[in-house]
């Protein structure tokens, strides 16, 4: 069984789906329609049928705009949310239906870093307490000296002076706090890190420091990342593979270089063209009509069709499946499949 798991992907997500019910109580579900009382429940379809694998040593980036379900995917992988449908396998073992107790050894392997370092550290714990807690929890047999050594080593590796260990989170700047949050994830020697927008709340010069730290940890510890972000320039730098999500569905999955040099899905193209460029002051921005529709009671068909310039009748009726392209990328788009993107653009 060990051999089987090392050959396959480290993380394997199959047909993952998450719905959040909006109407929880019985009375909330009652609606008056045409003079009759009926029961009706509304649900936010945050993630729809996402299939994805992550191999050891990869840094897979999930990108998309607010409400596309990228954080929900991250939380399900980290075991913080239970999926409505679908399966998550880690190293060959199904993990989405495990009990809290059975999940414990896996929490040591899969660690999560959150966006806001002001909220993810307990304000009443010193840095030392915050860093020692996970080590003791996952290694109950460690002696005090071993715990202390472990914590000091990790603190040094993320550039936090061990002499600061007695301080509280509020005494640190945002960048330092994010380093401490990363240190906390690294103290238990994880294999897999789920990072949800880890640098979005930081200033440019500090973003570079934290991103460098994460790259360094990837090299020296052989980490695998699932990196959630909305910032495409970070993706290009950090990611080995990119997943583009729109309204909870996958639009495109491709190697980073392929995605940036040859994006295929109309949404990916629009997203790339919208990033403000430093050197080019007259970019060809592809304007999308309208705004992201609500993910409540999603209509059938392609989720992107209301803003897509290439949408036709088939897009209204049938949800596109991801299809492998000659260069290896996966694209879910009828227009790409029928090869009518270029012809339509020239008209």
């Amino acid at each position: 069984m060990k051999d089987l798991s090392s050959a396959g992907p480290l993380l394997d997500i199959q047909n993952l789906e998450k719905k959040f019910d909006l109407d929880k109580g019985f009375l909330e579900t009652l609606k008056l329609r045409g003079g009759r009382l009926i029961r009706e429940t509304r649900a936010v379809h945050a993630v729809n049928n996402v299939t994805l694998d992550v191999h050891k040593g990869e840094a897979v980036c999930v990108v998309g705009e607010s409400g596309c379900g990228k954080s929900t995917v991250a939380r399900m992988v980290a075991g913080l949310l239970a999926p409505t449908h679908g399966e998550i396998h880690y190293a060959g073992q199904r993990i989405d239906n495990l009990s809290r107790h059975a999940m414990r050894p896996l929490r040591k392997k899969i660690q999560m870093i959150f966006q806001n370092p002001y909220a993810s550290l307990n304000p009443r714990m010193t840095i030392l307490e915050a860093l020692e807690e996970p080590v003791r929890h996952h290694n109950p047999r460690y002696s005090n000296a071993e715990v202390r050594d472990r914590v000091a080593e990790v603190m040094r590796s993320v550039g936090v002076d061990p002499a600061w260990a007695k301080r509280y989170p509020h005494e640190f700047s945002g960048g330092q706090r994010q380093r401490i949050a990363i240190a906390r994830a690294l103290t238990v020697d994880p294999e897999f890190i789920v990072a949800d927008e880890p640098i979005s709340a930081l200033d440019v010069s500090i973003q570079a420091q934290v991103l460098n730290l994460m790259l360094e940890a990837k090299e020296s510890r052989g980490l695998t990342y699932l990196f959630i972000t909305h910032d495409l320039s970070v993706v290009e730098h950090f990611g080995t593979r990119v997943v583009v999500l729109y309204l909870g569905s996958i639009c495109e999955v491709a190697d980073t270089a392929t995605l940036f040099s040859n994006p295929k899905h109309p949404y990916t193209k629009a997203l790339l063209s919208a990033v403000p460029q430093l050197k080019d002051d007259r970019p060809n921005h592809i304007r999308l009509k309208g705004e992201i529709p609500t993910p409540i009671n999603l209509p059938k068909g392609c989720p992107f069709r209301s803003r897509c310039a290439f949408a036709n009748k088939r897009c209204d009726e049938e949800k596109p499946k991801t299809i492998q392209q000659p260069d290896g990328s996966l694209v879910a788009c009828h227009a790409v499949e029928e090869d009518r993107l270029d012809t339509a653009a020239s008209v």
Binding site: V204, L211, A274, H285
Partner: protein
């Protein structure tokens, strides 16, 4: 004559145990219809600059000295009454979060009509008509219906468009936009930026754009000020600052961006953090983080002087030009 002329503006905050200087003798000009970007990281004083221009600072902050000449009149010396005729009327401000600016319990229409009638003698119906015209200018579909809606019924991008429409209601000469697109998604941000650019150009409205995003500044503005710890450290045409920055901090800021390094390689980070206002180091505030710092940098505050196409406050700017460090970029 310039529309706005700021001279030696110093802003202080009186804290319980000490007084800190948030803006240290900053000076700049803005021509009529010009678009100026103010960039820097958090704590640099960008937003304080925006607030000061409207004389909107509230305790414990205050303008200690200096002049802000708007159309020849000094905003610092103005009475409350005179200020009211300037704020929102001839000078408008757009903030990052539209939900904070809009009143949640009034409809969009009530808020727009109220603003118009506060400054001009108009009937409610006349004000409504102007509001509809302005909403159409910012490409809001079916503006008549929007007037009856409450802010929570609209999406983030739509709200920011409404904020822009409100800012334009009284045909101001200057718009101060503080991180106007930071809270928006990239595709929506691109739309809003295009819209603001178009409106500023067609109506000859001056724009002061405060942001941390160098990409946004590059696309929106003609001139840029770079701020660090309450001072302007570099200013000049946006193109020169982006393509050939002179101050080590500006260089560091641009070089730290991921698109400036090959994928997967270590980014060129600036070590350390920006100092807090209470602990600004002596001499050049950037010296502890600067690889070129000398004893002069540690003791004397550099003056702004012309260097090439830009004005820069750095003792070592001449040495930087010949330093081999610059050649690495080509390698």
């Amino acid at each position: 004559m310039s529309l706005l002329s700021v001279r030696d503006l110093t802003v202080k905050f009186a804290m319980r145990d000490q007084t800190v200087t948030a803006l240290n003798s900053i000076s700049f000009d803005l021509a009529k219809g010009e678009r100026l970007g103010i960039v820097g990281e958090s704590g640099a004083g960008k937003s304080i600059t925006g607030f000061s221009l409207m004389n909107l600072l509230s305790r414990p902050g205050y303008i200690d000295s200096g002049q802000i000449l708007f159309d020849g009149q000094d905003v610092v010396q103005m009475s409350e009454k005179a200020l009211r005729s300037v704020r929102g009327n001839r000078m408008a401000m757009i903030f990052q979060d539209p939900m904070v600016t809009l009143n949640p319990v009034l409809t969009i229409g009530q808020q727009m009509v109220e603003t118009l009638r506060a400054h001009r003698k108009l009937s409610v119906e006349e004000a409504r008509q102007i509001a509809i015209v302005k909403l159409r200018e910012v490409y809001i579909p079916s503006p008549e219906e929007r007037l009856e809606q409450y802010p929570h019924e609209l999406s983030g991008g739509m709200r920011q468009r409404i904020i822009i429409a409100i800012a334009l209601l009284l045909d101001p000469q200057l718009i101060i936009a503080d991180e106007p697109t930071t809270a928006l998604d990239v595709t929506i941000q691109a739309d809003i930026m295009e819209l603001m650019l178009e409106l500023c150009q067609s109506n000859q409205v001056g724009l002061i754009l405060i942001t941390h995003d160098l990409g946004v500044v590059s696309q929106m503005t003609e001139r840029t000020l770079v701020m660090y710890a309450g001072r302007i450290i570099e200013s000049g045409s946006t193109r020169s600052i982006i393509n050939d920055p002179q101050h080590p901090y500006t260089q560091g800021l641009i070089n730290a961006l991921p698109q400036q390094t090959l994928p997967g390689h270590q980014l060129r980070q600036i070590p350390g953090n920006m100092p807090t206002l209470a602990q600004v180091p002596p001499g050049c505030a950037f010296n502890p983080r600067c690889e070129f710092a000398t004893d002069t940098c540690r003791s004397q505050i550099p003056k702004i002087s012309q260097y090439g196409d830009v004005e820069v406050a750095c003792h070592e700017v001449h040495r930087l030009q010949t330093e081999p460090a610059r050649e690495e970029e080509q390698a």
